[in-house]
């Protein structure tokens, strides 16, 4: 682990540096490709909407061993129950002791008939979920309202905290990036979209911004008083901030992903399908995208927007010109090498300030 610390130290001092801001065109292109693929995914394939969005009935039958044999047995029991709406059920295992069967919308009487049929076929306990056809739409509509309100509130918050509209813009772009990618992964992989997935998506909003805020805070600290600086320029300072917070970003991602990963694995192995899996999956994908976007999208974009600012532009030009001069001067210095370094300040002839002995310091 010592190596990571040294790595952190080197990142912090700028001895080791990844060029996140300078090579933004590369990162933008990568993100763009992923986003385009994702967008294409959910335009062409659409989402695999769960029963909550379509309406229907979901049965969870507890059995001793859930395997393809018992699934067939249970599914047949449902289709032979004599309920017209349940003539074409879909069944699958859910964990290792439950079978999930989904049918079209049924009345409560019909669902009781099915429950009895399942119990007769050997299920020890049947859980039922009757879902009205408008439930999913309500969730989606409400979530959309929530999304819009949240975005407005957050834009104002970030603007108020950083006093910088560009950071708000960059944060929102990064957010859209994360949401699009997560949505795309869902569309392309065909994972089922349920209200729990929507919850997960909305949580990503919070997380993605949370991560971005931490990085932006460091950027702000590093670029404080940048207009007066003669040596530092904005993009470099922003990049330094990214490198300095890189170890934190990695640590944060790991500690955030570990519990979510645990949730995902337990959700899949113990419960099979269900809200736990749906939530964890959306979070897992979104958090990965969120960490990526804070580093590769949000900060480079904030920096780019800031560089377009008139004052910053002028300051950057000044510093670069000055550096140009400094790099030209070594040609002069390359001539006879002095024994000890001689500065170009012309201070050599001046008397150096002398230091009093320690015992006399602080006394007049």
């Amino acid at each position: 682990m010592g190596r990571i610390s040294t790595f952190g130290q080197h990142l912090y001092e700028g001895r080791l540096s990844f060029d996140f801001v300078g090579r933004r065109k590369l990162w933008y292109s990568i993100s763009l490709i992923i986003v385009v693929v994702a967008t294409f995914g959910f335009i062409s394939r659409g989402f695999n909407l769960g029963v909550e969005f379509k309406g229907g009935v979901e049965f969870q039958a507890q059995v001793a061993h859930a395997n393809s044999q018992t699934v067939t047995k249970m599914t047949e029991a449902v289709s032979n129950a004599g309920v017209p709406g349940a003539s074409d059920p879909t069944g699958q295992t859910s964990g290792n002791s439950a079978i999930r069967i989904v049918t079209k919308a049924l009345t409560t009487d019909e669902s009781i008939t099915i429950q009895k049929a399942l119990t007769k076929a050997g299920a020890t306990d049947v859980s039922t979920s009757l879902i009205g056809p408008t439930y999913g739409k309500q969730v989606a509509d409400k979530s959309l309202t929530g999304l819009i309100v949240f975005l407005i509130v957050v834009v104002i918050f970030i603007w108020a905290y950083f006093r910088e509209w560009r950071m708000s813009v960059a944060a929102i772009v990064a957010l859209a990036h994360d949401l699009l990618i997560t949505a795309g992964v869902y569309a392309l992989s065909g994972f089922e979209v349920t209200p729990a997935t929507v919850t997960g998506l909305l949580t990503i909003l919070g997380y993605s911004l949370y991560d971005t805020v931490v990085v932006f805070d460091k950027v702000r600290e590093n670029t404080k008083g940048i207009l007066k600086s003669t040596t530092r320029i904005y993009p470099e300072q922003a990049n330094l901030a990214l490198n300095q917070t890189l170890v934190r970003s990695i640590n944060t991602s790991v500690t955030a992903l570990l519990p979510v990963g645990a949730l995902l694995i337990v959700g899949i192995t113990v419960l099979g399908t269900g809200p736990l899996k749906d939530l964890a999956l959306a979070l897992f994908v979104g958090m990965l995208a969120g960490t990526y976007s804070s580093i590769f999208v949000a900060t480079p974009l904030a920096s780019q927007l800031k560089e377009a600012d008139k004052d910053i532009k002028a300051q950057t030009a000044r510093v670069l010109a000055r550096r140009q001069k400094v790099t030209e001067s070594p040609v002069v210095a390359a001539a006879p090498t002095p024994q000890r370094p001689v500065g170009p300040s012309g201070a050599a002839k001046r008397a150096q300030p002398s230091r009093k002995p320690r015992s006399q310091r602080g006394k007049k």
Binding site: D125, F150, T199, V213, A256, G274
Partner: protein, 542 residues
């Protein structure tokens, strides 16, 4: 450029802060224990979080209110009235442990722990069924034991009663049911034998009230069993229902006004019934609430209901009558019956996932931060203790129930909580790298990390708050848990982690950078000086 240590004047005494905070947590638990003393002996439920139905099994029914026709609105007042009536209906069906609550988005949630009662939705989901029926045969007595009359019901159902005209029905009341055409006579016979075996229960009376069929029912207050005609006026024709005390009277009545076609029907009915003072019945949800004899011809659709009401009961009934007339109906959003074994495995899975997540985070922190990792472990434990206490208290106080998404929210929050510590520790390291001694770095790093943590947590709380306000159903449990833990995180990092680190920085093990403390020079990646020293070129333009 060493920073003066006294810059943080608001946190000069870490020990005191720490003690006060820990005392606060203990006080919370004492509070829980005190609430526990107030409950019955042997009831330790106060120490168990209130579990949602997905974790303990039971039935939950979510209904979504909607205006029955265009132009109507769903107001909170209407929704509350609806809730009350649904609550009464649920109780009337014999289920006493049910909880009926209103939710955001015009929803009513019925929760019945431990039982599969999904069928309930058929009874409670419809608008209050208020109907006016003619009393074909009244004054019958209740049977002492219930008799199975499903065979008779089949006979009654087999006849199409909707062809009966109002005049035929009136004639049946005035001149006897034998005046009805022969095709209806088997049905009448069935009704009469059904009435013989009818047991009038005070609560849990089960009657299937269908508008265009005759009905055998009773008035639970008086116990009088009646055979009633198909409905002549529907509850949706009620224009208004107002409780009032008429002049020169001490008894509360309800003034009823009808609208539309019902006014004319009422005119016809009252005209026909007045000479003999024959009765008509007002039936609410299958029960006769009032049987009135018509005193006079009523042409304006205004009537009164008398029946020994008090101020409260007349108001409740007026609300029910009005509600029957209100354009509020319900869509069924979800009926979910969770069996005990699924509930058990969901609870189990949630707890296991939480435990695994916690252990993984702890292991990672210990490997990476070594000694400091223990501070994270301690902080997470304190945060867990605080969360548990608050979940218990909120369960008692505002009825917060822990659902599966709620547990997921708590688990996700582990990451967010741990991140606050990471931000803080990385800042300390940065300050040491900048050349500060460890003790100074703790204070200076804190001053900087504090703002970052606050800003980041604020975003997280905003997200949770928005989710909570705009979300439906289970999502709210998740948002609540997430918001709660983020808030707890702020408290823990300010009042526990920071003071602990400040204190530890004074110890030899941490302050002088022992190899296992996570603060040794090598681990921090600095070279050429000890962590207790201030670098010569400190404050350089890094």
């Amino acid at each position: 450029m060493p920073t003066p240590q006294t810059r943080n004047s608001n946190l000069p005494r870490p020990k005191r802060t720490l003690v006060l905070f820990l005392v606060g947590i203990v006080a919370l638990y004492v509070l829980v224990a005190l609430i526990g003393l107030g409950t019955k002996k042997g009831d330790d439920s106060v120490w168990k979080p209130k579990l949602g139905l997905d974790l303990q099994g039971g039935t939950s029914i979510t209904l979504k209110a909607k205006p029955a026709h265009k132009g109507g609105t769903v107001t909170p007042t209407k929704l509350r009235e609806a809730r009350n009536i649904i609550d009464q209906r649920v109780n009337a069906s014999g289920i006493t442990e049910a909880e009926v609550t209103t939710q955001g988005g015009g929803q009513v949630l019925i929760e019945i722990p431990g039982k599969k009662e999904g069928k309930l939705v058929d009874k409670v989901g419809e608008t209050a069924q208020l109907r006016f029926r003619l009393v074909w045969t009244g004054g019958l007595t209740s049977s002492p034991t219930p008799v199975d009359t499903s065979a008779q019901q089949k006979q009654i159902d087999a006849i199409d009663w909707s062809k009966l005209s109002l005049n035929q029905m009136l004639k049946a009341e005035l001149d006897g049911v034998s005046t009805l055409p022969a095709t209806y006579q088997p049905g009448i016979a069935a009704l009469q034998s059904q009435a013989k075996g009818f047991q009038c229960l005070k609560t849990g009376l089960k009657v299937e009230d269908v508008a265009n069929k005759p009905l055998v029912t009773c008035n639970p207050k008086t116990g009088e069993v009646e055979i009633l005609s198909p409905a002549v006026i529907e509850g949706t024709s009620v224009k208004s229902a107002v409780p009032a005390i008429p002049p020169q009277s001490v008894e509360w009545i309800i003034q009823l006004a009808l609208k539309g076609h019902a006014v004319k029907v009422f005119d016809t009915v009252s005209t026909a019934l007045t000479p003999t003072q024959a009765q008509f019945a007002i039936v609410l949800d299958g029960k006769t609430i009032s049987a009135l004899s018509s005193q006079a011809r009523i042409t304006d659709g205004r009537s009164q209901i008398q029946g020994g009401f008090t101020a409260a009961s007349s108001k409740a009934l007026a609300n029910q009558l009005k509600y029957g007339a209100l354009p509020l109906s319900f869509d069924v959003n979800e009926v979910s019956e969770v069996g005990p074994s699924l509930a058990g495995s969901q609870l189990h899975a949630g707890l296991v996932a939480g435990l695994i997540g916690l252990i993984l985070v702890v292991i990672y922190c210990l490997i990476y931060y070594r000694g400091l990792g223990l501070v994270i472990v301690g902080s997470l434990l304190v945060a867990s203790a605080l969360t548990f206490a608050l979940v218990l208290l909120l369960g008692k106080g505002v009825g917060f129930t822990l659902t599966l998404p709620g547990i997921a929210g708590l688990i996700v929050a582990i990451g967010i909580t741990a991140d606050s510590f990471i931000v803080f520790f990385e800042r300390i390291r940065d300050e040491v790298r900048d050349g500060k001694s460890l003790r100074l770095a703790v204070e200076a790093g804190w001053a900087r990390a504090r703002n970052t943590i606050l800003a980041a947590d604020a975003v997280s709380i905003l997200a949770a708050l928005t989710l909570f306000i705009f979300a439906i159903g289970v999502v709210r449990g998740f948002a609540f848990a997430l918001g709660l833990t983020t808030l707890i995180d702020v408290f823990v990092v300010f009042l526990f982690t920071k003071p602990v680190v400040s204190l530890l920085a004074r110890t030899k093990f941490f302050g002088q950078g022992h190899k296992l403390s996570g603060l040794d020079a090598g681990h921090l990646g600095i070279s050429g000086r000890k962590v207790t020293e201030i670098a010569r070129n400190a404050g350089g333009d890094a």
